[in-house]
């Protein structure tokens, strides 16, 4: 299955993501303090004991907030990626299979969305819908639809031309059956390389949105928002407020990025040599 030398990226990615996700899931057990309530410690204490990552201006324990702070980003990233995976892949299948005017129209729309900076589009959507968990998820899901669309469509075009598809048609299979039973399953391996990179992107977009104040209202712990909070104290040198939540974002996003690279390496050995 996995070999340490060959799959070092995949294995370390899985380890990192597993570590961060389980810490987040086990937050009630791991966090020494309530992330939203003031502790008995002073405000803005530097890291030490018993506050491993210090305290913030409201005497809250930064370590507890960091552990809890992954809940919103992970939830938003997973749900939005699942949504864009389903919608984007379905549209890609339909466009690639039917071809013609529908395909051209859909492709043009997707290219337009794709060419626009995802973050700015997401900001515009959230600005109109208003901040919040559901709106943030919807905005992120929307901006990543083209990523799946392009891969799914391209794969359908490649698979459609093969003999077994023609054979299925010759045997009298309907178009829907041909697409769903014969073409679609063959596009999935390529489509499934996208999510791990995409989740890494979605985590960064979520972090940016909540950093800019489009996320959940305080006191909900959220890495991006906590960094924005720490920014106010940057001039005073209270480094722990921004450093730790940021490191968690990087850890999670690097983890997913490594999984993506590793999966790609396994599926495409030639690319491994080059990329």
């Amino acid at each position: 299955m996995l070999r340490l030398r060959r799959d070092y990226l995949l294995i370390s990615g899985i380890l990192i993501v597993g570590l961060v996700v389980s810490a987040t899931l086990l937050a009630p057990l791991l966090a020494p303090f309530d992330p939203t309530a003031p502790t008995s410690g002073e405000r803005l204490l530097p890291p030490g004991s018993p506050f491993y990552m210090g305290t913030d201006q409201l005497q809250r324990d930064v370590f507890s907030r960091v552990i809890y702070g992954g809940r919103v980003p992970i939830l938003v990233a997973l749900i939005s990626c699942a949504l864009s995976l389903v919608v984007g892949t379905l549209l890609g299948w339909i466009a690639g299979y039917t071809g013609g005017r529908l395909d051209r129209a859909l492709s043009l729309i997707m290219d337009a969305i794709y060419s626009f900076p995802a973050l700015i589009l997401a900001i515009a959507i959230v600005a109109m819908l208003g901040p919040g968990l559901a709106n943030m998820t919807a905005a992120i899901a929307f901006v990543y639809i083209p990523t799946y669309f392009r891969v799914a469509r391209g794969q359908v075009l490649a698979v459609r031309a093969q003999e077994f598809v023609e054979a299925a048609r010759a045997l009298g299979a309907s178009s829907v059956r041909t697409l769903l039973r014969h073409i679609a399953p063959n596009t999935l391996p390529a489509v499934m390389t996208v999510p791990s990179f995409n989740i890494a992107d979605a985590i960064l977009t979520e972090a940016a949105l909540s950093f800019l104040g489009f996320g959940l209202p305080p006191p909900t712990p959220d890495w991006g928002f906590d960094i924005q909070n720490g920014q106010k104290f940057l001039q005073s040198g209270f480094w722990w407020l921004i450093t730790f939540p940021g490191l968690m974002i990087i850890l999670l996003s690097v983890g997913f990025g490594m999984i993506g690279e590793g999966v790609n390496d396994r599926l495409n050995p030639r690319r491994r040599r080059l990329a």
């Binding site: 060419s115 900001i123 950093f211 940057l234 921004i242």
Partner: protein, 336 residues
Amino acid sequence: MARYILARLAFTIPMLLILLTLVFVILRILPGDPCLALLGGRNVTPEGIAQCRELLGLNRPILVQYLDYLGDAARLDFGTSVRTGLPVTQELLLRFPATVELAVFGMLGATLLGMLSGVYASVRRDQRADHVIRVLNIASFAMPVFWIGLMFLMLFAVRWRLFPAGGRLDPVAAAFFTPVTNLYTIDTLLRGNLYLFLSSLHHLVLPSLTLAIVVSGFIGRMTRSSMLEVLDREYVTVARAKGLHERTVIIRHALANALIPIVTVVGLQFALLMAGAILTETVYSWPGIARYLLESISSRDFTAIQGAVIFIAFFISAVNLLVDVLYARLDPRIRF
């Protein structure tokens, strides 16, 4: 060449139309009333809402609004900002050079960092340096832009005081300086003020480095794979066999031929660069269009939000066009 540019332009127009429609749908059709948001829930009377809708033209049939909107966009007339009372176009044009300057320096830095690391990794393929660069590349696009910016600020501006913590010029000297083009690196030279020129460069270092790091990962990766494609070609072997210096072989023979995919990637990263710019401008209080967009959102200035988003769409389409033309110029095999 002219025919190619025309053909490419013809393709840009439907693309822009779709983008404009998308923005229209997001801003006008999605739930969320700009007037309700503008008046902010404080003693909102039905009359007040009606008056505001009248003022923004939101009470007209949606199709009329749409056509009107397209017409305004085509004339680059984005209406009047509710917040400042100035034409949005004028405000955008005033801030645009700041974004351009940041983007250009960011892109230069990213290209330099990316190409150097990519070429080095390809030459040292599968050795330790190659693996280290690969992991650094993955990390570079996994880092939140705003976090890199804040870290730089904390270390280089607050702790070591090597660079200014924000803004575009030394505030004291800037008071006596009237910009010409608003591209400060050029303006200060035009005015012949070397001190201010250095000051503008000094202010550019941290923001553009922040942007550069985010974008450099993709360029580095593409450079490496593109270099590896050409490094085992026969002409490289021939060049080595002729006894050319290894550096000449790498730069003149390999890199020159590996350049086309790299240019494409540089162009494609522009959207990423703009997304990064919105965060960089926020962190470094850089007075560009991205920050203008955010300020407009927080003051619920609907016309300004719309103007800024359309402006960014125009800008991106223009850059994509430019990249394609450049691409065609670089590769004689691309027919036009």
